[in-house]
């Protein structure tokens, strides 16, 4: 398939840099830096102490070596831990106070923060480097009792909620990157859906890393009280830069009795160039706790970007009859590496989980699925179904599957299915003979392969995800 190999790689079109004055800390990490971040945000002392405890724990921890990825050691003193657009400080009552350059950036990314022009039925929280620059639809949501705001704002407006739930799903010392995040996180999104409320619109956060040599450490906390429902979407991009940038986020979800949280991610961080230079290191801890009975958490992710992806959105199924779902498409092309999957921890009775993972490898990409299904002693009649499919495009890429299954209750049922397929030259030729170009043929086959996952995405984003997949696989095939 030489002709396929020769197709030029399309550019990462989100790779531009926004020219804004920024308030950026000097590189380096210490207790003083942690204190300074906390001071910037006027945080209460309990939070400063919480951060410091995390920092001290982090100092004693080591980066995990078990992921199936390779990268040179990260110099944690070579990163700036806080960067915010300088102009309107943390107070932004209206969009007029947001730097027009930033608004333009989001327009260019296809995300309008203008209330009049915004996509219907989506509220957006826009995070630029370390801080949230704007949140739309806030007033409307507030009338329903829904809190949707930047994390910094939540610390002041809803201190008791933040204090109750922060770290309740991902403790500070959970893992190396979670500890780092807990120490230095600068902003993120906070959602709280009160008892009995069904959130009438999609809530979404758009993360943008702009400044060079900064890390982005955001924190997302979503709490759905009894009977509440919410669908949340996260998108992300970054400029093209030759150096690697670290993104170490923590996302915590809490679903109480009969609550439903649907969390969808379309991850499109800059993946680096075709030789593997630059790109984002996406080391993220995402976990949801189905704390209440009949609660449900669904993770849907489409991972097309990043030089390295390391993330395992997980569910802890504590409440009886609770449900955890994980639907994932992970694409690697060129030199990208991904080690991603999920953990389903069954604690309550009759808990059910579904895992559908679709890994696509092209170029010299390396894709690893790592999944853990654990059924605790008390989880009578727990059920898990895992389906794990890999699609290879070309001969130089790799796909690996590491399922870990641990069942401590004899009434549990765990099923695992796996498959590996390859786009064959004959398939491509068949399509071409019908007039369909190689590119379109691959798009068609890949989209078909991912259908079960795309189906789980909110409509607009499913379309976006399909396009994204096309771009990230463009010229990848051999």
């Amino acid at each position: 398939m030489e002709d396929v190999e020769q197709l030029a790689t399309k550019d990462y079109k989100w790779g531009f840099v926004t020219d804004v004055a920024s308030d950026t800390f000097a590189k380096g990490l210490s207790e003083d830096v942690v204190r300074a971040i906390s001071a910037k945000k006027n945080e209460p002392s309990w939070l400063t102490d919480w951060r410091l405890a995390a920092y001290r724990a982090w100092l004693k921890m080591k980066a995990p070596v078990w992921p199936n990825v390779t990268y040179p050691p990260i110099d944690y003193q070579g990163i700036a831990y806080y960067s915010a657009p300088a102009a309107p400080k943390d107070k932004k009552q209206s969009l007029d106070e947001v730097d027009p350059e930033i608004l333009k950036t989001y327009e260019k990314l296809g995300i309008s923060l203008d209330e009049q022009k915004r996509l219907q039925n989506i509220a957006v929280d826009a995070v630029f480097d370390s801080v949230s620059v704007a949140t739309t639809c806030k007033d409307y949501l507030e009338k329903l009792g829904i809190a949707f705001c930047s994390f910094s704002e939540a610390v002041h407006k809803h201190p008791e909620l933040v204090r109750r739930y922060l770290g309740s799903v991902v403790p500070t010392h959970d893992n190396f990157f979670a500890a780092l995040n807990s120490a230095v996180f600068s902003d993120g999104s906070f959602c709280f859906i009160p008892k009995g409320v069904k959130c009438p619109m999609e809530l979404s956060t758009y993360f943008r890393i702009n400044a060079a040599d900064t890390g982005q450490f955001e924190r997302t906390l979503i709490v759905a009280e009894e009977g509440a429902q919410v669908s949340y979407l996260e998108g992300c991009t970054a400029p093209k830069r030759d150096t690697n940038q670290l993104h170490a986020a923590v996302v915590e979800l809490v679903a109480l009795d009969n609550a439903t949280i649907k969390y969808s991610t379309v991850q499109n961080w800059y993946p680096g160039d075709k030789d593997g230079k630059g790109g984002i290191y996406n080391f993220v801890t995402k976990r949801g706790k189905c704390a209440g009975v009949n609660s449900k958490i669904t993770w849907t992710q489409v991972e097309t970007g990043s030089a390295i992806t390391w993330k395992y959105p997980s569910c802890i199924l504590v409440g009886d009859n609770s449900v955890g779902e994980f639907y994932s498409v992970a694409v690697v092309n060129n030199r990208q590496q991904a080690d991603t999957g999920t953990k389903m921890i069954h604690v309550g009775k009759n808990t059910r989980s579904t895992i559908v993972s679709k890994g696509i490898s092209a170029g010299r990409g390396n894709n690893t699925y790592r999944g853990q299904v654990k059924v605790a002693k008390g989880a009578a009649k727990a059920r898990n179904y895992t389906q794990c499919d890999s699609l290879l495009i070309g001969d130089r890429c790799g796909a690996h599957t590491f399922p870990y299954i641990e069942v401590q209750n004899p009434t549990a049922k765990v099923e695992h299915e796996a498959s590996t397929s390859k786009i064959s030259e004959d398939q491509i030729f068949y399509c071409k003979q019908r007039g369909i170009s190689t590119e379109n043929a691959i798009n068609m086959i890949v989209n078909g392969f991912c259908k079960e996952v795309f189906r789980e995405l909110p409509m607009e984003f499913a379309v976006e995800a399909q396009k994204l997949l096309g771009v990230s696989l463009d010229g990848s095939v051999g």
Binding site: F429, Y430, K432, R434, G435, M444, G448, F449
Partner: protein, 253 residues
């Protein structure tokens, strides 16, 4: 429409076509017969532009253009259709979706507006009736899990939808039951027109009772060793290919 002259082609290091000369005019139906491994499918694949086959000599002119210079997808868009001997499965892509993509590529090429899903479905329904294609097949992934006969029928269904100028059928009759054979032949006969040509590769004279050819050619050892009218097929049916072997050997010398 199609003019093949002294065509030689190889796969890997192996020379398979050793000098094919064939002229096909619009409106004609040419049947190609010959022993297993003689190069019939190879000829079909070469005409479609399969990358595994290299043209080593001779010329192929299609509608005045050098066919060998055209990409496979351009050939398709310019009206060449190959009904494969072994149709490929494309998991996850529905038949209807696949066909609309193919159809619209042609429309684009011809400068006509593309059909949307609704318009196209109407067209599909019509065509599926003609070929007695079960509508559920339309929504299933292309050829996936289709029986051998269903795959073949699906190829002819695609042909009917895409309405090519030059249709090449590679052993479409193999694996079809009697009724399917009649349906498929009916479908092909409906498509016969003065603007359209067919090359029909088959092992069985029976098919040619339904699709009556204007010419019959026998390929052996990578070249046409005998050409004639439809009665040649009957003669082959009775005598086999052995009596032609010396001619093949002679031609190869």
């Amino acid at each position: 429409m199609l003019s093949i002259k002294d065509l030689t082609a190889k796969v890997g290091a192996k020379e398979i076509l050793t000098g094919i000369t064939l002229n096909v005019k619009a409106g004609e139906v040419h049947a190609i017969m010959g022993p297993n491994g003689s190069g019939k499918s190879t000829l079909a694949q070469v005409l479609a532009g399969h990358p595994a086959y290299t043209v080593t000599g001779g010329t192929v002119t299609y509608q005045g253009r050098d066919l060998t210079e055209m990409t496979p997808e351009d050939r398709a868009k310019e009206g060449i259709f190959l009904a494969f001997q072994y149709p490929v499965e494309i998991p996850g892509v529905s038949n209807a979706y696949f066909l609309r993509a193919a159809y619209n590529e042609r429309e684009k090429q011809a400068g006509r507006p593309e059909l949307d899903v609704m318009e196209f479905n109407t067209l599909l329904k019509e065509k599926s009736k003609i070929l007695h294609i079960d509508e559920s097949l339309l929504n299933r992934p292309v050829n996936e899990g289709f029986s051998g006969g269903e795959k073949k029928r699906n190829e002819i269904f695609q042909l009917a939808v895409l309405e090519p100028k030059l249709a090449i059928l590679d052993e479409t009759d193999s694996g079809l039951d009697i009724d399917a054979l009649r349906t498929v032949s009916d479908g092909v006969n409906r498509l016969r027109s003065k603007d359209r040509a067919f090359i029909v590769v088959t092992h069985y004279q029976r098919l040619l009772n339904y699709i009556v050819p204007d010419f019959v050619h026998v390929i052996a050892g990578g070249r046409i060793v005998k050409s004639g009218g439809k009665e040649l097929a009957l003669e082959l049916e009775q005598r086999g290919y052995d009596w032609l072997k010396p001619a093949a050997a002679g031609a190869a010398r």
